[in-house]
């Protein structure tokens, strides 16, 4: 077993990815009041497009990464137009929008499967070795091995989160997002184009989800059409834990879930990691049904 400190380092970088991913759920939920269950497919899109650009089109990572994020952002916007908006305009129940998003997720994953076959001859593909520096930084005194990519992830994730906070709390468009989150009728009376705010929210959620997917692919190097499944439940757990629709809640929830997973693997083996996560979620919800940050309205966007 690795040292405690080593586990912390691992948990923090995994948590950064989970948080980025969970933020996408939280953003959309805060604005629409609906869970976008196709967000895991957006995550996969980020990894898929990143891999495609690097492996097949031989682009450097600094070009591939932003393009992958933007592609994921557009897939996310497409979800709004195809899976959510038509139902919302017909006054459909939130449950049917949820189901519609599940359908969209399956469709996107299937399309990715179709694309994987000719591109990589199966459903599994790998980022080239050495794409990111993989020589671990060893700190003997602390018996710590840190793979550089894990530090890079942390920095990128933090930068994105700070940018998002700035956007939501300090800009005109963020103010409009918060107004729509408060009440879309009131926002419309204030001259805010609610439909445009929805589209922008889906785009932001997609950027973050796509970044999370790409980083996840870079850490584990392999990408499949199904990598969204790895994080779908984890992300949901993170936002329920943190409080639905709360940005800070999604952040803390993501790190918390990663920590619980990492330590339960270290202690009990990987078979129990999800059982432990969901067990703790259950206990927490009994004590605090609104989640950790469920009441801090000011952080909703």
């Amino acid at each position: 077993m690795d040292s405690f400190l080593q586990q912390v380092v691992n948990a923090v970088s995994l948590g950064a990815i989970y948080s980025l991913f969970a933020l996408g759920y939280a953003l959309v939920f805060s604005i629409l009041g609906v869970l976008n269950l196709a967000h895991s497919a957006v995550f996969m899109t980020g990894a898929f497009v990143g891999l495609l650009l690097v492996d097949k089109l031989h682009q450097p990572l600094w070009i591939a990464a932003p393009l992958a994020m933007i592609a994921a952002g557009f897939v996310s916007i497409l979800l709004e137009f195809v899976a959510f908006r038509p139902l919302r305009q017909r006054g459909a129940a939130r449950m049917s929008q949820l189901i519609s998003s599940i359908g969209a997720a399956l469709l996107i994953v299937n399309l990715a499967q179709l694309a994987f076959k000719p591109l990589w001859g199966g459903t599994e593909a790998y980022f080239p070795q050495g794409l990111v520096p993989d020589q671990p930084i060893v700190i003997e005194a602390l018996s710590l091995r840190i793979v550089p990519i894990r530090m890079i992830i942390l920095v990128i994730a933090l930068a994105l989160v700070i940018a998002l906070q700035y956007l939501v709390m300090r800009t005109r468009i963020g103010q409009q997002m918060r107004a729509v989150a408060f009440n879309q009728r009131t926002a419309a009376l204030l001259g805010i184009n609610v439909g445009r705010v929805y589209v922008l929210t889906f785009f932001l959620a997609g950027l973050l989800g796509g970044a999370a997917g790409l980083l996840y692919g870079l850490v584990f190097l392999n990408v499949t059409p199904f990598i969204g499944d790895d994080v779908a439940l984890v992300g949901l757990t993170a936002i329920v834990l943190g409080g639905l629709g709360s940005i800070n809640g999604a952040l803390v929830g993501g790190f918390l879930v990663a920590a619980i997973q990492t330590f339960s693997i270290a202690i009990g083996g990987s078979n129990y990691k999800n059982a432990v996560v969901f067990g703790l979620l259950f206990v927490l919800l009994l004590a605090r049904p609104q989640g950790l940050f469920g009441q801090s309205e000011s952080t909703r966007a």
Binding site: Q175, R178, F182, T186, A188, L190, G191, G195, S298
Partner: protein, 234 residues
């Protein structure tokens, strides 16, 4: 040409007709009030004017332009601004952020001047500009909702029950503010259950009953109508 001309407006919720051939008009600079009991269709009328509800028939002409079918944000940007029932200040935003939330629709670019004027008129809002709007009292929230609407440079201000839930002293304040807004040349469409106060300030009034206009006239005419007196001013 009237500033606002509503003719033969029909609105329904599913199978139930909420407005049945409602017609009324408002001349520039006037205060016109819609009075009537709960459920008579007053708020439905305002929300249809604002584009939140869809009319099934009729027309809404504002400055001669048909407004039916336009998005609520476009309607607000064209100068038809609503102060909604229950104020609807954005609880988790600061007072200052609430005031500027709709200011992007101003056409004259005088946002800063208007903000300064609002803070001067409502010193309580100035004192509390960094506080969350949800922490304000009901009266202060009403001032904030009115200020927020003025920031949007309305040509026609539509107010839905501005005196609702306020203590009598504050109700007087609200009507004083309405008079001041009228002084500035802004036309006002006022929906009120407090018919006596509304008639006292209005140039013209319409009485709604179960989705229909059943009476209309100047405030003086309606105040002398025994049926109206009994039903709404009793």
């Amino acid at each position: 040409m009237a500033l606002l001309e509503v003719s033969d407006l029909w609105v329904s919720y599913g199978m139930i007709a909420a407005l049945r051939s409602v017609s009324f008009k408002l001349e520039e600079g006037q205060v016109v009030t819609l009075i009537g009991a709960n459920g008579a269709g007053k708020s439905t009328t305002l929300n249809t004017l604002s584009g939140l509800l869809r009319a099934s028939a009729g027309s809404i002409r504002f400055n001669g332009v048909e407004m039916i079918g336009r998005r609520p944000d476009r309607i607000a940007a064209m100068g038809m601004v609503q102060v909604p029932e229950g104020r609807q200040v954005i609880a988790n935003m600061s007072v200052a952020e609430n005031l500027t939330a709709g200011a992007h629709v101003r056409r004259d670019g005088r946002t800063d001047e208007e903000l300064a004027a609002i803070y001067a008129r409502f010193p309580r809002l100035n004192e509390r500009r960094t506080q969350k709007a949800g922490l304000l009292s009901g009266g202060e929230q009403q001032m904030l909702a009115v200020g927020r609407a003025l920031m949007m440079q309305p040509t026609l201000l539509m107010m839905d029950e501005p005196s609702m839930g306020l203590a009598p002293l504050l109700v007087k304040d609200v009507f004083r503010i309405i008079a001041e807004i009228k002084e500035r040349g802004i036309s006002i469409l006022l929906v009120e259950q407090n018919a006596r106060q509304a008639l006292a300030i209005a140039d013209y009034a319409y009485v709604l009953e179960r989705g229909k206009v059943v009476a209309e006239g100047t405030a003086a005419e309606l105040s002398n109508n025994p049926a109206i007196l009994a039903a709404y001013l009793g």
